[in-house]
Symmetry: C3
Subunit: 143 residues, 3 copies
């Protein structure tokens, strides 16, 4: 691996983490910084494109008390200023709308297309393949 | 760290991801590409060696509707063209053989021995230490 | 990224893994090697500082049969010989004190401050933000 190849891989890993943390912190600017102009995030039954960052963060804030996106596995192939690849994520969605708090875990395989723009890797497209979701109760506070 | 040391670490991380994704995609060639000749994968009550990739993928396909191997933690020590180390994985196994779909999570600490062959890192041995398994129901489809 | 920047990021990732594995293996020396003099680990209702490594490992050993710290997401900013950042961890705590074995998962966002001392990155501070905990039964042994 050349130093450039190494730097590309680490930059893409950092991007994938930034996406996850931006979503969880509900930081629209941080989340938006992950995407190229015109990017799309889509999966079973949904597509986010117009006003992508604000819409997505607003959606998460409306539906869930808090989220935690936990990322695993990085497998990206870089060709010049383009890359494609896969990463895994278990996204925990916590809410109490229906009584006691529950955690819904969404098991996601992201299929990504990326582009390096002015030296920075951005997502052009994230396709979410949802492997399953599970829901378990949150432990009550100790006290 | 020298550039070679950095490249070795990233290549081993990529190998660990490729193993996980190859298993989940049931891609025998991708999975086989992770192993040196004569490699062995073993754990409590099982050993995979002969025809390793095809046997393992066939076994997973026979028992489970789908799997998702989520990898965490990389701790590898490289000495020349050999390496040893540990990685963690939660491997989710989804099936509906006994009625509604369930997800069995196997919490695995892999104890690995690796070798660099013609510039490519391969597993010689993966020993699975299973910390526990848990089983929870999959959420029913929405709609 | 310069080679130094790359090496810093990988060294911090290795540190985060070493912390997790040291805790799980109950290896006081390995765990202690992660911290600078006077470091503190704290979160809701607890603070570990005096005799940090031995106290923490003793605490885990007293309360749980075994643990597995699974690390995700790395987002660290390095400025000279200091760094700050976030990592995620789902820490599984397994015990049978109250009957059959259960797994309590603690969903942790670590807020870290680090320092490079004699070329080695160490934690000065880890603040644990606990997103939630969940508890599920362990599957009984097969047989």
């Amino acid at each position: 691996m050349t130093q450039q190849e190494i730097a590309d891989q680490l930059a893409i890993q950092e991007l994938v983490s930034r996406y996850a943390i931006g979503a969880d912190l509900r930081d629209v600017a941080m989340y938006a910084s992950c995407f190229a102009e015109g990017a799309v995030v889509y999966g079973p039954g949904f597509e986010m494109k117009e006003n992508l960052a604000a819409t997505t963060i607003g959606f998460l804030a409306h539906l869930y008390d808090r989220t935690m996106h936990n990322v695993h596995n990085y497998a990206y192939t870089v060709t010049g200023d383009r890359a494609t690849g896969i990463t895994h994520c278990v996204a925990s969605h916590i809410d109490n709308k229906n009584g006691p708090e529950t955690k819904m875990d969404m098991y996601i395989r992201y299929h990504d297309k990326l582009q390096k723009i002015n030296g920075e890797w951005k997502f052009n497209e994230r396709r979410l393949e949802v492997i399953c979701t599970t829901t378990v109760p949150i432990d009550p506070p100790r006290g």
